[in-house]
């Protein structure tokens, strides 16, 4: 139903908007620029921005060559494959001029004039300065070229018609460079610029409407990404203890905060790349985000976790979870945070708890980092449902979640993006 409405709406908008908005000219291909044609400091700056933008996360397959594309990004309407953004002239962006790259970032239009899906977060990238977009261009054009075709998107007709995106853009896309807020200091402004711009935090942490656009009046109020719940980063933050900018900075760089817990799901990769970003930028992001969140934790801190819960689920918790999350487990004894401090158990939706039970937190290669096994094969849907409810009861002072069983089924089937 949702898809039908969506298609109809986009079709209508595209017609009303007219062909002018839908049509863009190609920008002439160029001979791929040499590495030497870019200044080293610009490339270095581009590396930082590309890391904050997480380009590699979407544009690299598991175990594949960096930036060579091919990773399927699940969206509510189907799978969109990230493209090859290495400077390969045939399959990558080697023939893209700086102007073509700028247009793609600012307007979501490919070099050949076709529309890009907003899985590429150009509604955020449009807010970056020309200098920064150029730096990212310099960085990408000095990567190793990889000849690798991108698989075609798996979208139902007529959503595979890119022309519909003209309508989407008319409705939701407002190209504009970010402007500093003189009320705040430089660090806050740097953070705001990175978060709203290249960092595109809202692409996951802001709720999206039925047509996949961010709800601009609920920026960072919590959203969904790849089936995971991305918690609110503003006044609705479910964190049990308030996030300080110091704790946030540490979390963003290591994927772990001793007062909160470990990054999981799509956030893990974000923290892995932020580990490579200069401290001052991560600090700025942390300062800006922390400023959006309450200085004192909302409800959870005051209301202690409840006792009780399903005794059968308590047995499962003791045997499956207790070796790490039990009160006297070695992990707790060495001072790592209780589940009660995590955003997942205190969130308005059970989605993060369900996802982490199903899929865990994968082992990170070569680097000491939080790990949790997935329980997908070990526990049935009914058991995960009972366990999810039990965890909510035992570790959060908040009301029970509803429809946990349906959420489990949805997450298990890989849906729910």
């Amino acid at each position: 139903m949702r898809a039908v409405a969506l298609i109809a709406a986009l079709g209508l908008i595209t017609i009303i908007g007219g062909a002018v908005a839908a049509w863009h000219s190609a920008i002439a291909p160029v001979t791929p620029p040499t590495r030497q044609s870019f200044a080293a400091d610009e490339v270095a700056r581009g590396a930082t921005l590309a890391a904050i933008a997480d380009c590699a996360v979407c544009h690299t397959t598991e175990g594949g060559r960096a930036f060579a594309g091919g990773r399927g990004v699940p969206t509510p309407i189907g799978t969109i494959y990230a493209t090859n953004i290495t400077p390969d002239p045939d399959t990558g962006i080697g023939r893209w001029s700086q102007a073509a790259f700028r247009r793609a970032m600012r307007e979501g239009i490919a070099r050949d004039g076709s529309h890009l899906y907003p899985a590429l977060p150009y509604p955020h990238f449009t807010r970056a300065t020309d200098e920064d977009i150029d730096a990212v261009y310099a960085f990408l054009m000095t990567r190793n070229a990889v000849h690798q075709e991108t698989p075609p998107n798996r979208l139902p007709f007529p959503l595979d018609r890119r022309v519909l995106l003209a309508g989407w853009n008319l409705l939701y896309f407002r190209p504009s460079v970010w402007q500093p807020d003189p009320e705040h200091d430089a660090q806050w402004n740097r953070g705001a610029y990175l978060v709203e711009g290249v960092g595109h935090c809202g692409a996951c942490h802001t709720p999206h409407n039925a047509l996949g656009a961010e709800e601009t009046r609920r920026t960072l109020a919590g959203g969904y990404a790849e089936g995971w719940y991305a918690p609110a980063l503003q006044r609705d933050s479910p964190a049990a203890l308030p996030w300080t900018d110091g704790a946030l900075a540490a979390y963003l760089r290591t994927g772990y905060a001793p007062q909160h817990g470990a990054a999981a799901g799509p956030m893990t990769a974000v923290t892995e790349t932020l580990a490579t970003v200069p401290d001052e930028d991560v600090q700025a992001i942390a300062v800006y985000i922390a400023a959006q969140m309450p200085k004192r934790a909302a409800a959870a801190a005051g209301s202690p976790p409840r006792s009780g819960g399903d005794p059968a689920a308590a047995m499962i918790f003791a045997g499956a979870c207790g070796s790490c999350h039990g009160d006297d487990a070695q992990m707790m004894r060495r001072g790592e945070p209780s589940l009660s401090l995590g955003s997942a158990v205190n969130a308005p939706t059970p989605r993060a708890v369900i996802q982490v039970i199903l899929h865990g937190v994968p082992a990170r290669e070569a680097t000491a980092a939080p790990y949790m096994p997935g329980f997908e094969g070990m526990l049935t849907d009914a058991q995960i449902t009972a366990l999810t409810n039990y965890v909510r009861t035992r570790f959060s002072g908040k009301a029970d979640w509803s429809d946990v069983g349906a959420e489990v089924a949805k997450s298990r089937s890989g849906g729910g993006a």
Binding site: Y371, M372, P373, G377, M378
Partner: protein
């Protein structure tokens, strides 16, 4: 007190319901195959198959196992008549200390039952949850490939 279906037989077990399956297999049922490695789901030495999926028995309490089918390495074959995957491990001499190997066999078995012709990357990705410290990785991978080929042969043989 619980009834567990292990290798096709219902077994009465006197153990608390929070007891991880591993301890029941080893101590109550005297099955040596699944090993304690970490108790944290990090190494896979305890891997068994439950309802077709490879699981960490160290983190699967028996409370979760009523009515489910549990298979251990003992259920695949014997020294005299090893199963296809077991035989492949023997043929490749895919063990050094061998402590991880029963878990490796079970994880490989689960893969090949679902995907009889896995690509190399699929094998490596699937086996990634199990650790080996002796560095027997190349032989374990060879054994999984050999088992896949043997199963393929058996399949074709059955068809032919």
């Amino acid at each position: 007190m619980a009834v567990l279906n292990v290798n096709g037989r219902d077994r009465d077990v006197q153990a608390d319901l929070d007891t991880p399956l591993l301890y029941v297999l080893r101590n109550d049922l005297a099955l040596n195959g699944a090993k304690f490695g970490c108790g944290l789901g990090q190494c896979g030495a305890c891997t068994v198959i439950v309802d077709g999926a490879a699981v960490f028995s160290c983190l699967t309490p028996i409370a979760a196992l009523a009515g489910r089918r549990i298979r251990t390495v003992e259920g695949l074959g014997t020294e005299q008549a090893p199963g296809t995957v077991q035989k492949a491990f023997i043929d490749e001499q895919a063990a050094q200390c061998g402590y991880c190997i029963a878990g490796m066999v079970m994880r490989a078995q689960a893969l090949l039952e679902k995907n009889p012709h896995p690509a190399e990357q699929e094998i490596r990705g699937h086996m990634a949850l199990n650790l080996c410290r002796c560095g027997t990785h190349m032989r374990i991978l060879a054994a999984v490939r050999r088992a896949a080929a043997a199963m393929g042969t058996a399949e074709n043989g059955a068809k032919g």
